[in-house]
Symmetry: D2
Subunit: 381 residues, 4 copies
């Protein structure tokens, strides 16, 4: 059996790769080795290990590297510690292949640990474009990776332009799309209870907006201002608001603090604050929302697949391939607010299968089962 190691860095990252993991777990040719790491090991970010166990997935190793803080230097140092920790994990597990997904700063730690140890590396989401530090990180991972699982046709073209060998690129779509299925669209019995964190208990039969504002790592000074603009806009809304805590990027502490400050001093009775949510419930949540507001890439990916109107705010998702469901806005209270109104009026859009057809996980499993791994790649020009 081929040993395939997958490093999970946080709950969003797990959602991306989950349907590959579930499919690989059933393969008779692949032996899955899951490395839990970073904020997925931190209590306050939700106990991911429990979720994995429910999905019948076993953790093979852990990697602790997430420094507390939220400044830029923390991103660098956490990545450094990540390489130390992940190389230990790979030394322990001796995988035949490492698979990684996405473009967060710590993903580069996985890529370095694997390739420096001469372990073949595969990457999902290479060739996509966006703003932020993520953009540079993603392309750097591409240049280290030996195999690419492109999520869109345009991404595949871009990988070829970047000099990657065609035989190393597979157009599979993104496994995160695999759960955007009819069965997860409908609200199930315990839904409201399962997703409950703090604040308002969501009534999913009444209209609600899903709001996520992640920090922008290349302009942390703007994060403080944007955090206020974002909350001030949401306070203008009469609908229910389902607000997510920011992820563990640089700048997240000022965003988290802003939310806490507002919560103490302002009336936010219509706000639900989400702490932890399963990938399936996340799809259900998006499916039944009247509008998505913020800068999460899921609003573009899952959003287009589901046809839910979205207002993408700021530069974080610049240049990303978008569907009809998306309009963009600057960080400005009235502009965002108007565009929310506009989008809500349009109601739902026709779903578009830009990022995958719902079988990506299985496709990648099939490819890995049959691929003979080879680390001697060359640039094509």
């Amino acid at each position: 059996m081929k040993k395939i190691a997958v490093v999970i860095t946080n709950r969003a990252n797990y959602a991306r790769i989950k349907y590959f993991l579930v499919a690989a777990n059933k393969s008779k040719k692949l032996k899955l080795q899951i490395v839990l790491s970073g904020s997925s090991l931190v209590y306050k970010y939700g106990e991911l290990e429990k979720n994995l166990r429910k999905d019948n997935l076993k953790v093979s190793a852990k990697a602790f590297y997430l420094l507390d803080g939220g400044s830029e230097i923390i991103q660098a140092k956490s990545t450094g510690i990540g390489i130390i920790e992940l190389s230990s994990a790979f030394e322990k597990l001796k995988p035949d292949f490492v698979l990684t997904v996405g473009d967060r700063y710590e993903t580069l730690a996985t890529a370095i640990a694997a390739t420096y140890m001469n372990i073949p590396l595969g990457h999902i989401q290479g060739g996509e474009v966006s703003g932020n530090l993520d953009e540079n990180v993603r392309h750097a991972i591409t240049k280290l990776s030996h195999y690419h699982f492109a999520t869109t046709k345009k991404s595949k073209q871009r990988l070829i332009k970047l000099g990657e060998e065609k035989r190393r690129i597979f157009l599979t779509g993104c496994p995160s799309m695999d759960l955007v299925n009819s069965k997860h669209k409908r609200i199930h019995k315990n839904f409201e209870q399962e997703i409950y964190g703090t604040g308002n208990i969501l009534n999913s039969k009444k209209p609600y907006i899903v709001a996520i504002n992640h920090p922008l790592s290349t302009s942390t000074k703007e994060n403080a201002i944007n955090a206020k603009i974002f909350l001030e806009t949401l306070l203008l809304r009469s609908e229910q608001i389902v607000l997510f805590w920011p992820n563990a990027d640089a700048g997240n502490d000022i965003l988290a603090k802003t939310i806490r400050d507002y919560r103490e001093t302002r009336k936010m009775n219509n706000f639900s604050f989400i702490i932890n949510i399963s990938p399936e419930n996340y799809v259900t949540l998006l499916s039944n929302s009247i509008c998505l507001v913020g800068n999460s890439s899921s609003f573009i990916r899952e959003g287009s697949q589901l046809g839910i109107p979205a207002v993408i705010v700021g530069d974080r998702q610049n240049n990303r391939e978008i569907g009809n469901n998306v309009i963009r806005s600057r960080f400005e209270i009235s502009a965002i607010n108007k565009k929310i109104d506009l989008q809500i009026k349009k109601k739902n859009f026709k779903p578009q299968k830009i990022y995958g057809d719902g079988t990506s996980g299985k496709k990648i499993v099939k490819i890995l089962e049959n691929l003979q791994f080879d680390i001697n790649k060359v640039i094509t020009y």
Copy 2:
């Protein structure tokens, strides 16, 4: 004054960047911040700080990250520690710009520390191609870098193909070529004494071959075999042999051990073993050699500039842009030996200015003096 930080990782790396450093040190608009790191801090690899002092250069910070060993995992972990250490150095120095050169594995630590802290990063030698892990590392650094100082026209074209913005690419040549000047070609009085390490004292008036065999990090198993083939070939030669110790890459310990073993058991009276050499003496050494044998990229760069015949052995420099002076050989005793004969017969070649015209250091200084640094780069397709 703009603060420009440069990380020096080893003696070869210093030779590459030295003429930029000397020029920048004289600039009224730039303030140089030299970070000494890795094997340049290790006693046995030569005391580089003394060399810097002679060149009137001051060390602003130190970064310790080189783990002892020589296996692949060491490369990963050293890079991780490197990020921790270099981010501390940058936090201390608060540079306006970080300049890095080359493609060794630890160079990626500099690139990550700088860009994750939102410090503009410039890179020399981007767009070149070679074999080995270096190849992937170099292109990954390109994707993290905000500015590129290309060493050849083809490299510049390749950077553009890789999606880098034209306005961020400067064709400057490589500062390592700046010292390939007439004044360093002639043998000066104390030359033999200055370069002496152990073994035979070189008589530079008689014919000598310069031999360097660095480990290949992506196939460490071959390193042991190749090390013997290399030495066996050299033992066939009647000329003087100037042999360099391998650098601090993965696999270097088996190479060093092989040399030590041979030294104890075989007759190597015609071998000089170099421990430490100044960049200028290195140029003198190459200039007056009858042939260069091995897999050092300097045989291609400096070699073509000087027109010295070279036999490049193995895959380490695959795909690299070469001049007339180079022929390639597999790792095979008789093949290498015959090609050495062949090259020696040809005598010297017409020098070719592929990698720079001797003014690269000054060109880069001029560009940095006038450039307004901007970290928001986009991919051009």
Copy 3:
């Protein structure tokens, strides 16, 4: 001038050493070098750098090492990273002496970095006893330290018994006692506003209890149970409760989570939640409290000095030298509650100067000014 480096790890740690820092800052023979580190650099734990600036103190270096999480392994790894970071800080600052205070796990990182670099190390609070991992850490620091600043007579005796040379032990008291002065006892105008975090706005004219429950690192399984017992007890009280968030030790996340859970589901209108407080306001807060409940060592130190009744709960402060103001209780709701009643009835106690006479900071400054540092210590038997 002698360069004296002091590493500050968190807000409580700053309170301990502050009056030494202020006194040393005025010395003409000492040059202070403050290294800010650990949770004192983390936004959510309060911005300590601002406090320092108000006290006219400058930060010379920063050390990032606090891994996010809260499990035991995090304590080990954070200490390891701490050594890497602090040795860089000492390399940068080249202090003639390093002074450290206390017994938290990361303090050992300071002790190792300093002594392994042959820098003389002084330690405040050596020779004290308590329960928990702190106990072993404190004595290990003693064996690494070259000089000791004992806080009590018994501590001094214990240091001698531990084999430390008498000439290296100074009975100075603890600088944390220096601010337990009349001027800080009285409630000033902006007091309530300055200390306000979230929850109830304290009315300091009405009775209030100060409550702190830190995790016990050697029995993390009990922490979850104890956290509930602690809050359940406090919920029985009708007085105002001033509750502190737990510190960054292993186990703190389960404690913090318990508080958050209770806050969402229980009526806690009489609870003030403190996020950040200056050392002076902390003294004011204790001075005017009717009772201190929990396991903070400050209830014993500052508490005895102020004569405020305290109920020390659990094993964390076992064996510590206590004054009349302290009674102990197991972690049991009714037991704690009864003892609070008992203590409140007793009203205030006669202050006892066990841990210092209020001039410790100045005493230590004087000693350092005149001491000729010597690292060749011997065990006295």
Copy 4:
């Protein structure tokens, strides 16, 4: 079965603990988990893993932490990395008990990783005294350890004086003495060949001196001078000299360099340079030597047990409990040389069982089999 983890840091460290490992490996109640680390993983320091395999011992985990260099800061940083690496190893192995031996700087990494993770820690050689940084490190480990295996009666007394509970102290002697047996005293057939490194091939039938000079970490400036004095003295001798390379402590690079320099420029035909030697051959080597010269603690321990005359040079072994076989000398050519003459004349001494009776390994196994581990230790005063 109780899982007992043992961290091996270098070849000397392995020799110390080997006879415990062999005995534990046969126990039906103990499951051994060997962690190979530090210089025991470095090629040039000898491939220890092979030796272990010959002894039927299996490696369960590896920890990479030894930074290349040799300055004091390297000792600190290596220890920091050691904690990160060893805590990963303990997380992987989940031992019930960690056993460590000795007082080298990195031993503190083992002690911190284990105790911070609440794993019971046992320590061999606690309570001994010496000079150097080792002295402070050893006592610090004692204060972290939960159980002590004293090697001498005096050491046991000292542990009690240091405040350790009697029930936690066992007088077992040192397992390194277990191999000082008659069977290892006699020179076997392949002895000379097996121990051969470089230089002279030892003729063990003719007189030879064993010489070891380790660096003194608390006065690195003296190391350079002492290294020369040591070699100059040895050059005066007409006997065969068996010289060991210095270990991986701070200062070792200057010592190694001095040896290399001398080897190139001086006549050292009577010198054998040892690179790697098995613990048994080491005993054979000492047993048949006419004199031991230098500062290795083995000259005192094994030396007294064997009754071989030794001249202990410098401060490194100050205060250590010695037998009749030892006289001390300052670092001075003529003084050392005269004392060598003096000792050689005395011939062999009556063996003294100071450090154990040859059954220590088995004793410790028996104790661990029956001990109920408990981490709640208290100071006895």
